[in-house]
């Protein structure tokens, strides 16, 4: 009896090093401009080619502006990094979706939307949110640049087999509660290191009822509790999503693939190293109050008191609240905010824009709020326009930007100023993540929409 994870892992073992890690075969490798240049330099220095060039795809996303993408990037260092990516693609004969390419976008948005991500695969990228692709029932995880070099050189990676954990979400979600809220709730319960060393399978009624995009949001945040990845067994929802997309198998190959994919589920009675169950009826819209994603609470909740924190954690807790300008025991509902960011590989897909738009329709953005609405890809942006959501957003006082990682990690100009509060649909509220001194409150798209309209944290 095997878990879903075991089945996929075992199907990719090339060799096992004595007393050491597993040599794992990688089906798909995605690269972006920030974590790949040193890896390409490495294989050049060794006089190597990319071993399986068809299995690596490149996109520029982390370091690019979200306005005027048709003009040269103003920041010369950023421009050089993007140009280096383009040169590496051309030197090594790799597919590259550069700026203004209709398939350009955030690496974890374009993989799924082009049908490049499929069940049963091993997928890696020099980016910790590669866990997103696990929504399709794939083993997908983030790697470092030395490991990117390994994959370029050999289509393999050396990894120690992680332990397995199953997280069951039982019951039905309340209205206004999203996959993002499920994830923030889970991380607040398990803490930011609670799943370190594990690969997680998400299961249960509430997970089965999620759309593919919602499953992506949930799997995306696996790394925020330390898990290398999280995955969901593929089902009809998965197959319906993939079918017909550009890189999806066609004809007989489709039938054959689906027959295989249907075997990809944990056997009845398969043992997990750890199992956790949550009752989703208890989950409310969530926000974070501190400087790691584990510091979350219901939107109407109160920040813990110092007495509730263990001795070793007190310094970090106080440092965190000091950075945020909050006090122990404080409520955040009604708190005025300055910025709203809708986007990122966590919540930058069409369903996120639909939820946001539906809330703001016929209302006006608060005067005190600067809002950045950044689609995850050009295809998402085109869909927004096709559905007329851009017009509704414009009438409500919002402007749509061009795709990229943007204010999620603020490598470009989209930086939240020091001391300002941002309600953000992204994945990390670390100190300085959205700009030096920026104060991030993580939330789902609906809570972000309510904050943008009301100018403060309010129940949607």
């Amino acid at each position: 009896m095997k878990t879903l994870f075991d089945k996929i892992w075992d199907a990719h073992v090339v060799a096992t090093v004595k007393d050491g890690p597993t040599q794992l075969y990688i089906d798909r490798h995605l690269c972006h401009e920030v974590t790949s240049p040193q890896a390409f330099a490495g294989i050049r220095a060794r006089g190597l080619n990319v071993y399986r060039p068809k299995q690596t795809t490149l996109t520029a996303d982390h370091n690019i502006p979200t306005m005027w993408q048709n003009k040269p990037i103003r920041d010369t260092v950023s421009r050089f990094q993007v140009e280096t990516l383009a040169k590496n693609a051309s030197d090594f004969g790799l597919t590259y979706y550069g700026l203004n390419n209709p398939k350009n976008g955030i690496v974890h948005v374009i993989g799924p939307e082009n049908g490049y991500t499929q069940p049963g695969m091993t997928i890696v990228c020099g980016d910790s949110h590669t866990s997103t692709h696990g929504a399709f029932g794939a083993i997908a995880f983030g790697i470092g640049t030395s490991e990117v070099e390994m994959v370029l050189a050999s289509q393999c990676i050396l990894q120690t087999r992680p332990k397995t954990m199953r997280i069951n979400f039982d019951g039905k979600l309340e209205e206004n509660v999203s996959a993002k809220d499920m994830a923030l709730y889970m991380i607040s319960q398990l803490t930011t290191g609670g799943a370190t060393g594990y690969f997680v399978e998400y299961a249960g009624e509430a997970v089965r009822n999620l759309s593919m995009e919602e499953r992506m949001t949930l799997c995306n945040l696996s790394i925020e509790m330390g898990a290398r990845g999280g995955l969901v067994a593929p089902d009809e929802t998965t197959f319906n999503y993939i079918k017909g997309r550009e890189f999806a198998p066609k004809g007989d190959k489709w039938e054959k693939a689906v027959a295989y994919w249907k075997t990809l589920k944990s056997d009845e009675g398969a043992a997990f190293d750890k199992e956790v169950t949550f009752d989703v009826a208890k989950i409310r819209p969530m926000i974070t109050y501190g400087t790691n994603p584990g510091m979350g609470m219901p939107i109407d909740g109160t920040i813990p008191h110092l007495d509730d924190i263990g001795e070793a954690g007190k310094i970090s807790f106080e440092k965190s609240l000091n950075y945020m300008g909050f006090t122990p025991g404080e409520k955040l509902e009604g708190k005025q905010i300055d910025y709203v960011f809708l986007g990122s590989c966590t919540n930058g897909r069409i369903e996120d824009f639909r939820v946001f738009t539906q809330y703001v329709k016929g209302k006006k953005k608060a005067g005190n709020v600067t809002a950045w609405l950044v689609p995850g890809s050009w295809q998402v942006r085109k869909q927004i326009e096709a559905e007329g959501l851009d017009k509704i957003l414009e009438e409500a006082g919002f402007e749509l930007r061009q795709p990229g990682c943007s204010a999620c990690l603020a490598m470009n100009d989209d930086k939240v100023p020091a001391g300002k509060y941002a309600v953000s649909t992204s994945n990390r509220n670390f100190e300085g993540r959205q700009g030096p001194g920026a104060r991030t409150i993580l939330a789902g798209p609906l809570v972000a929409a309510a904050a943008a309209i009301n100018g403060k944290i309010t129940e949607p």
């Binding site: 199907a11 090339v14 090093v17 007393d19 050491g20 890690p21 075969y25 089906d27 920030v34 974590t35 240049p37 330099a41 490495g42 060794r46 190597l48 071993y51 982390h62 370091n63 260092v77 050089f80 990094q81 280096t84 049963g120 980016d127 983030g142 790697i143 470092g144 640049t145 030395s146 490991e147 070099e149 390994m150 050189a153 050999s154 393999c156 050396l158 992680p162 930011t192 290191g193 370190t196 060393g197 925020e224 330390g226 290398r228 790691n292 584990g294 070793a312 954690g313 310094i315 970090s316 440092k319 990690l409 490598m411 020091a418 990390r428 670390f430 100190e431 300085g432 993540r433 030096p436």
Partner: protein, 199 residues
């Protein structure tokens, strides 16, 4: 990669938990295309003010503390997979990071750059902080061959775990790519025989 040898060194205490890789090296410093120079920006936002002047209350700016070993609170290196964090730590001159818990990706990245992550018990970690608080010139000895770490302030020692393969790599200064390249026939054999191949 340089061969890893036994180290006896003073150490730098950072008793903060959940130090994420965005703190180790903020994203705006990730625009380089080489591995060099990241040490100057290690912990940049804790180390320098807006004008770029050293913040005197941060441990790296306190001349009393120095050494090749960084001792940090639980769950060190969480968050982003950026290997630049390991390059920054190595570039600054640290060869060992000691904590009671490391995030997975950071641990791999450190090992791939010849930096040894040493996991110790909460108790041992707490004692290291106490020893260096009493005497900033307190030292630790890290012996990879024996897999031991000794708090020379108290004389207490602990053994630590490391994968035997990785230990061998560090001691001999080898990296994984050498290994993978020597294994190409197995990769091709796998590609021929796998049950389901993706196009």
């Amino acid at each position: 990669m340089e061969k890893f040898q036994t180290i006896t060194s003073t150490y730098v205490p950072l008793p903060i938990e959940n130090v994420d890789t965005d703190q180790i090296i903020p994203a705006r410093f990730l625009k380089a295309t080489t591995r060099e120079g990241f040490g100057d920006n290690l912990f940049a936002d804790w180390r320098y003010d807006k004008e770029g002047n050293p913040k005197l209350d941060f441990v790296l700016n306190n001349p009393v503390y120095s050494g090749e070993v960084l001792v940090a609170g639980k769950n060190f290196g969480s968050g982003s997979s950026r290997e630049h964090a390991a390059w920054a730590i190595g570039g600054y001159g640290f060869k060992v990071v000691v904590s009671s818990f490391f995030a997975d990706i950071f641990r791999n990245n450190a090992l791939n750059n010849g930096i040894l992550p040493v996991v110790v018990s909460e108790k041992f970690l707490g004692e290291l902080f106490v020893s260096v608080d009493k005497n900033p010139k307190a030292t630790v000895t890290v012996n990879l061959e024996e897999q031991t770490i000794t708090n020379n302030g108290t004389g207490s020692a602990e053994s630590f775990e490391i994968n035997p393969y990785k230990k061998e790599c560090l001691l001999k200064g080898l990296d994984d790519i050498d290994f993978l390249l020597s294994n190409k026939d197995k990769i091709e054999e796998y590609e021929r025989n796998r049950a389901f191949a993706y196009e």
